[in-house]
């Protein structure tokens, strides 16, 4: 595979910078700063220090023995990103970009959030680095995720409810970009996924690749070889690209991205961008997009707010179209079942997002022999989802044993 992206931020034909002219110099400034600092030993050391001492890296690569036995096939390992500070892989990126923002002399940061995970991770880093923070969140999501709104407030961030469009993540992204257009001078935008205009897809990948770099080292230590499969959930695709990227050159390692099929890819309520989407320009880059025949972006649906997004990062589009990675859909119901299985076999309640990767592994592992190795990116923990899972399963508190 070629080194991607190129200088224009292209992964093959995907990526680029489809943004209003007002933002172009800000993006160029960001790219130059990133190119500079990503080679600066002091910057690298500071980010590494915070990842290790503050977030608790490296995260463990855990052999899920009971899940393996239960499924009866390949050996399953979990890359425990859920053990990070704030409970998900999102902090890898916000630490990197937060330190970068500070080096660039910015005093304010802004971020978009869906369920609130990236918002919480951004608010956390803003508190840590002593910066002002505004988080844009769809009004619908602020209602569904009141606890995360409160969490961000506790951390000193202002949560701005977004009332335009679908009032969810997609429109929170639009609104953050609009705000940034008006405040480019002193404000840094911490984008939360490998989406958006160049250099974000590249930069966020670079900050997230630590997941895959650690996994590679850990699996070789544990198994003496590379894994046969790496499985990760994809919404925008940051945890997936993070764990995939260091394996892209290893042809023997199959990369499996799992997207949200919601109520089913045959319905209108899904977020299966790769399965049902087409090439298109959305929020700053060319990639796959859920859209109608005239290019209007369609609302997405998933039980998991982190996957509830009609776009996907351009590098994933590139990996798909070059055949290097495969993308498969998992429904809400399958994810819920996987969440319960992992909870009961391993004592780990995964985030609904990560449960999609577990669900795909439930299908995959039994078809493989016991000398095969599957690594799941367990991107986040399920604490944030417990209340909504309770509603979905129709349970009441105190009802269970």
């Amino acid at each position: 595979m070629n080194q991607v992206p190129d200088q224009q931020g292209r992964f093959g034909k995907f990526g680029g910078r489809y943004v209003p002219e007002t933002l172009m110099n800000a993006l160029i400034e960001l790219e130059e700063a990133y190119q500079h600092y990503s080679k600066d030993p002091d910057f690298i050391a500071e980010v590494r220090y915070l990842l290790n001492k503050y977030s608790g890296r490296p995260t463990s690569l855990y052999y899920a023995e009971r899940l393996t036995k239960h499924l009866g096939g390949a050996k399953i390992y979990l890359k425990r990103e859920d053990l990070n500070h704030t409970g998900a892989h999102k902090i890898n990126n916000t630490i990197g970009q937060g330190v970068l923002a500070k080096r660039m002399g910015k005093t304010k940061i802004i971020a978009e959030t869906g369920a609130g995970q990236h918002g919480v991770a951004s608010a956390t880093v803003a508190a840590l680095l002593g910066m002002e923070c505004k988080v844009f969140m769809g009004e619908e999501d602020t209602k569904r995720q009141q606890l995360n709104v409160f969490r961000m407030n506790l951390l000193g961030a202002e949560v701005v409810p977004v009332t335009s469009g679908t009032r969810t993540l997609k429109d929170a992204c639009n609104e953050t970009l609009r705000y940034w257009v008006s405040h480019v001078d002193d404000t840094y935008y911490i984008l939360g996924s490998v989406t958006g205009p160049h250099p974000y897809p590249m930069m966020v990948r670079d900050f997230q690749r630590i997941i895959g770099d650690e996994t590679r080292e850990q699996i070789v230590e544990a198994e003496g070889k590379l894994p046969d499969y790496v499985v990760a959930a994809v919404g925008g695709g940051s945890n997936a690209i993070g764990i995939f990227y260091p394996f892209v050159g290893d042809e023997s390692v199959r990369l499996l991205g799992v997207e949200a099929a919601g109520r089913g890819v045959e319905t209108l309520e899904h977020a299966a961008t790769m399965t049902k989407g087409k090439h298109g320009v959305f929020q700053g880059s060319l990639s796959y997009v859920l859209q109608d025949e005239y290019g209007q972006v369609q609302p997405a649906h998933s039980i998991s707010a982190g996957l509830d997004y009609p776009g996907i990062g351009p590098e994933h589009a590139y990996l798909k179209d070059t055949g290097r990675a495969e993308y498969v859909p998992i429904t809400d119901a399958e994810a819920l079942e996987a969440l319960q299985l992992l909870s009961r076999t391993e004592g780990i309640i995964p985030a609904l997002e990560s449960a999609h990767a577990v669900a795909q592994t439930m299908k995959l592992a039994p078809t493989l022999s016991s000398d095969k190795v599957v690594v799941i990116s367990l991107s986040g923990r399920g604490d944030k989802d417990v209340e909504s899972i309770m509603h979905y399963l129709g349970g009441e508190p105190g009802e269970s044993h």
């Binding site: 007002t22 429109d171 970009l177 609009r178 008006s182």
Partner: protein, 281 residues
């Protein structure tokens, strides 16, 4: 050496945008360029509004294609887009409006304002076929900066349609490169941020406009946030055209109940007429 532009003008008649700016320059006046969102509230009304704008003194008109994710637009145009999209207005319908309005007597240049994705989905070849046959003279694509517009620019040149670029107060050293490739006019963004009415413009607006003027061989027009006769006047000396978008779209929003009432429709259109003719002065 032959100037490639000369070759094009032999194939294509003179672009109407150039013609209008030429006439205005001769008479020492500034172009008033209103923007409206197509299909807000419906296509037939858009045609009537365009006629009204021309009667009120519009020199050319920006036809906005409603889009689900209008990144460069503020709340007023976002709402207009949502209203239009409620009845599935497509980019094809919007382009058809140009022909319908021309047939109804609106004899001004039309500039299609659209985000890039609807164009991409239609396919660039089909898009240019359509806009050429329906009488569109210019294109503004707010999310297609010069780094991404090569293919589009080539096709526009071939078709004799002007691809009108935006420059912003944050463009700095990019102004020269953008202005050098501009056709029709350069759209100067008056202030940072999205479209929408505002009382103040970017602090260095005069110097900014001057820098664009020096770099451009085509006329310059200023837009974003202009809503009053005073503001129009302020820019008359500094720009060849003034674009008014959100303020007119907001006026349309105000008179929606009138436009929806067959008995009071003319009254609604009259309000829009009066507002625009007051801008023109």
């Amino acid at each position: 050496m032959l100037n490639p532009l000369c070759i094009i003008s032999e194939v294509n008649p003179v672009n109407r945008i150039d013609q209008v700016f030429g006439e205005l320059r001769a008479s020492g006046s500034t172009a008033l360029i209103p923007f409206i969102t197509m299909g807000d509230p419906d296509i037939r009304t858009s045609v009537d509004i365009i006629k009204t704008l021309v009667q009120a003194g519009a020199d050319m008109i920006e036809l906005g294609v409603p889009y689900s994710d209008p990144l460069a637009d503020g709340p007023v145009i976002q709402r207009a887009s949502e209203r239009a999209l409620r009845h599935q207005i497509s980019i094809v319908d919007c382009i058809q409006v140009a022909e319908d309005a021309r047939n109804a007597g609106a004899d001004v240049p039309f500039i299609l304002f659209t985000y890039y994705n609807p164009v991409l989905q239609l396919g660039l070849d089909r898009f240019f076929e359509l806009i050429t046959s329906k009488g569109i003279s210019g294109l503004i694509i707010p999310d297609l900066p010069i780094e991404e517009d090569e293919e589009m620019r080539g096709l526009a040149e071939q078709a004799g349609i002007h691809l009108i670029p935006l420059v912003a107060p944050t463009s700095h050293d990019r102004v020269k490169r953008i202005a050098a490739k501009a056709r029709g006019f350069v759209y100067c963004v008056s202030s940072l941020g999205v479209t929408g009415v505002r009382s103040d413009f970017h602090a260095g607006i005069e110097e900014f406009l001057q820098s664009v003027r020096e770099a451009a061989s085509v006329p310059i027009a200023v837009g974003f946030g202009i809503s009053s006769r005073e503001q129009v006047q302020r820019f008359e000396g500094q720009a060849d055209g003034v674009i008014v978008g959100s303020a007119i779209v907001r006026k349309i929003e105000e008179v929606l109940p009138l436009l929806a009432d067959p008995g009071r429709r003319e009254e609604g259109l009259q309000h829009i007429h009066d507002y625009v003719s007051a801008l023109k002065g």
